[in-house]
Subunit: 236 residues, 2 copies
DNA sequence: CGGGCCGTTGATGGCAGTCAAACCATGTGG
DNA sequence: CCACATGGTTTGACTGCCATCAACGGCCCG
């Protein structure tokens, strides 16, 4: 957990992160808001459910899983990647409600929330961006709700993979040869399925000629058909 | 759609709504933010998916259902009641993503969002409350995600009824003789179940001696057992 | 080389979806 | 006031999807 000063101006994710669309001058001012940068090793957590909330966490590189404890077990609620903001749910109570564990060696930027609130009272662009990030999280979660309530298992897996693909593309990474950072069990927990069902769904999609699956290596062969199967309209 | 000036200072919901915990002086200032009050008749909508977003909508009295179009059908995403804030998801894109239809004759207060943003740059308490409302919506939705992914049909129905009960109690209404404003089909859409399954689950819970059900009249006989069945821990 | 973890595949059972019919409350018009 | 239509709810029989239990196989790492 090395602590070094983060510089948003040098960050590859600044366009998908909080300081999006800023002028160089604004960017410099924003840099002052970042408390520290931390390296998180694979398997380590940034915070755990129950921790006191003081800072939002921006993912600078790598990827995480967030999960809530429920009935002794864990339910995965998302797989945030670079540019995402963690801890938005903790604002309401001041307590973290989920745990965030790194799926690979990652870097995060800590943003003290009281500092952020003060700054966003001064700077309209920051206020707007923060509101948008909060609102976007609501939209994202609702997408999951629709998946869980309306789709069959192989459709959910298809939707998950398409979604992952979209996020990777937005981060200029290859979608043609994805490497899943999470296990079948974690995908299943996220999608409300058992790990065996996730596995079966993937082989099913492979048999349809939409995917090539080799353990954690997934290649999307026919993305259009995959999206259609998942019930995505032309939109998105 | 009568338009009269709303007065938060006279509103019964002001403690669960945006202007919560305000001094009389602050309350007066807040009153100035409310654009107008509107009466919405049962079956009418406040906004529909695709509408341009300009205002948040606070429910003053009555109840609504919010739903997103999906594959030609509708998926119910919530049943907001008095004190709730509608349209939080629209902030991210500036477009309404769901429709809000009144389940009974209701009243709402329109809050222009640009006005609200300007005011919350001046008033810290407003900023905090707005952030909390946004964050709380994330938490609420995540609860639903956990239900959908982890619970059986009768557990989901039990959780739904307990949740409804909690909200009614917070609004000082009776929980012992609830009248459901929504149909079985709407409950099913919300919980990711078919209407027949909702009906069967209710009779099942009745046979267990936890409920008394007569069409839309539901009486909770053993709330503790119902909560236990739904997987609620002692918390909440 | 061996062990453990993860992923795949198979057989079986149970829960919820589907199709269908009956029942009930409400409201409307004769 | 009653007959009737209508929409919502309940109940039944059957089907199908996913969970469960179990065994096997591949990969990584000590």
């Amino acid at each position: 957990m090395a602590a070094t000063k983060a510089l948003c101006s040098t960050c590859l994710q600044r366009e998908t992160c909080l300081p999006s669309g800023l002028s160089p001058a604004e960017l410099e001012r924003f840099d002052a808001l970042v408390e520290q940068r931390r390296d998180i090793r694979r398997g380590d957590s940034v915070f755990r459910a129950g921790d006191a909330f003081t800072s939002l966490v921006a993912v600078r590189s790598g990827s995480f899983k967030t999960s809530v404890p429920y009935e002794g077990r864990e339910r995965v609620t998302g797989f945030p990647m670079a540019g995402a903001l963690l801890g938005l749910d903790a604002i309401s109570t001041g307590q973290q409600r989920c745990s965030a564990v790194a799926l690979e060696d990652s870097q995060v930027c800590m943003l003290r929330f009281d500092t952020l609130e003060r700054a966003s009272r001064k700077w309209q662009w920051l206020q707007r961006t923060l509101h948008r990030m909060l609102s976007r999280e609501i939209v994202r979660q609702r997408g999951l709700i629709v998946w869980l309530g309306a789709l069959q298992s192989h459709q959910r897996v298809a939707a998950f993979l398409c979604d992952l693909c979209t996020h990777l593309r937005a981060r200029r990474q290859s979608c043609k040869a994805m490497v899943l950072r999470m296990s079948r069990a974690e995908i299943g927990s996220y999608l409300g399925l058992k790990l065996e069902t996730v596995s079966r769904s993937m082989t099913h999609l492979q048999q349809l000629g939409l995917l090539e699956v080799q353990h954690r290596r997934v290649q999307i062969v026919d993305e259009k058909a995959l999206r259609a199967l998942a019930g995505f309209a032309a939109e998105r």
